[in-house]
Amino acid sequence: MTSARRAARRRADRRRRLTVLALLSPWLIGFCVFVLYPIMNSLYWSFTVKRYGKPARWVGLGNYRLLLENDELLLALKNTAYLALIGLPIRLFIALLVATLLARPRRGNGAYRLLFYVPSLVPAVASGALFFFLLRQGGPVAGLLDLFGIEAPLWFRDPAWTKPALIMLGTWAIGDTMLVFMAGLVDIPRSLYEAVELDGAGRWARFRYVTLPMISPVTFFTLLTGLIGVLQAFDAAYVFSQGVRPGRLTGEPDGSLLTYAMLQLRYFSDGRIGFASAMAWVMFVLTLVITLVMMATRRRWVHTTTDGAA
């Protein structure tokens, strides 16, 4: 009896395992064919001096040791922390606000959604030009501030103001985040709202006790991809550090806009594949640690419908 049941269970287990494998197979195959080899290559190269076209030369921790002394990387990390801790919450908040207002199918909302999405599609050459147009001395923003007797800050040249300005620029391109939130909001079963409404919950309570918990997996997504985005931020910072004309990868003024991606591009331009790979792996470990911390503390802030997943 029991052995037959055990055999049946084993068979069920095997079937289940096969099902999981079948479900995962697209990713598994893709990972093994297209992703694994490049990743292992870059990990190996990070311990070597590698230049394309030539075999790699093993240097052990040589690249990593140099990175430890690299003040610019530290500066880039500080800038990134600023952008992540201040810029990211603002972006997420505005995206969520707009998504909440637009998630329900009302007349006119389609047009609104389009308007809010558009800036994400506008190429950096255009949005950068607009920002320059708006913020330069004598421009519209300076004129507006002047009405209130405030002297406009030097957005592009004062190290204290470049990052706030960059965050403002980033707030424009929230379209994708908004779309993710909207899709998450539409997913929430109406019945849950009805339940709390029966308890006499107001708008805020509904948002606080139904909406927020229900979209928390989606919020986790926007947070993590947002973080990766900030770590690899390049264009806006680069456009911004240009001011009037294109220049070098220095993150001027005073390195206030220097990002990891700029350093990365610099080392790649020199063909220093080993060194650049080492830096990529340092950032990889850092991102992974942050991700794991976020996942470990998920129970505090992520509502899940299944066990353990966040």
Binding site: V118, L130, V186, P189, A280
Partner: protein
């Protein structure tokens, strides 16, 4: 306006006294539109700016001028003259459609396995999926180029489309998070009724998660549409190129001549088709959901 409001917010009407609720709702309505109009104007600015710049004469573009002295519609003709837009448009569309189909078809089962099927090591493997997003493409593309060379795929659209059929990390992650917001009870009920995992996926999860799937599709479409790096690297022959490559090549030439009005006109032409795609896609996924009434 109010009829729409009533129709969608019936529960609230049931609970609150009619009079008080009406004035409060009116206030909310006004507030909502005030916020939206103000925000929408701000958000429309980059596109309006781009539009205006695109029809300016070269002596006006990127100056303090906000309104064109005269409307140089010829800028658009100039872009058409310099870039074979029709060919590039069709090439781009081909890549976008294939990659989008591939992404949706491959990521749905994977994301399901990572959200609503229980198995040992799930979290660890999922972290591995996430980890693949954390290395910048610069450290990976040369090795990938090697693989595609071995496969003999260089100078074809295969490197741009085939990998999409093998589930990328970003789309898996996004889809999985959407799946997690779905109620497990419905799936368990289906399982008790004897549905296989594939059956649950096809008959319960996919219909419920349409908005999420649509979002993933939109992202992949936009990514393929705007991808410059891949096509520039893998496509050689001039008549196989995509719009993004054509646009960048035009811009590279324009940097030296400073014709930013043409840059803007090309950018408008580049953005308009995806705007249309977005507009219809969001209509389908938001309004489609309520029509089918799957929720609740």
């Amino acid at each position: 306006m109010s009829t729409v409001l009533v129709a969608t917010e019936q529960p609230a009407r049931r609970t609150a006294p009619v009079g008080a609720s009406r004035s409060r709702r009116l206030l909310f309505l006004i507030g909502r539109h005030a916020v939206l109009v103000a925000l929408a104007l701000m958000f429309a600015l980059p596109f309006l700016f781009m539009l205006l710049q695109s029809v300016m004469p070269i002596t006006q573009a990127k100056t303090t001028a906000l309104w064109p002295d005269r409307f140089e519609w010829g800028n658009y003709r100039e872009v058409f003259d310099r870039v074979p837009l029709a060919t590039y448009f069709l090439n781009t569309l081909k890549v976008c459609v294939l990659a989008t189909i591939g992404t949706v078809v491959s990521c749905v089962p994977v994301a399901y396995a990572f959200s609503h099927v229980r198995w040992r090591g799930r979290t660890a493997v999922f972290v591995l999926v996430l980890a693949t997003m954390m290395l910048p493409y610069q450290v990976l593309f040369v090795s990938q180029y090697q693989i595609f060379t071995e496969l003999g795929w260089i100078n074809s659209i295969l490197p741009l489309t085939v990998p999409a059929f093998f589930a990328d990390a970003f789309s898996i992650f996004l889809l999985r998070q959407f799946f997690l917001t779905l109620p497990t009870e419905v799936m368990d009920a289906a399982r008790i009724d004897g549905a296989s995992e594939l059956g649950v996926l096809a008959r319960v999860v996919v219909p419920l998660a349409k908005p999420g799937i649509m979002a993933v599709a939109i992202f992949q479409f936009l990514f393929s549409w705007s991808d410059f790096f891949g096509p520039n690297l893998y496509l050689d022959s001039d008549d196989s190129l995509t719009l993004a490559v054509g646009l960048v090549r035009l811009n590279t030439a324009l940097v030296k001549t400073g014709e930013s009005n043409l840059t803007m006109a090309a950018a408008v032409l580049f953005v308009l088709p995806i705007l249309a795609v977005f507009f219809f896609a969001q209509k389908v996924f938001i309004e489609g959901v309520t029509l089918t009434g799957t929720k609740g």
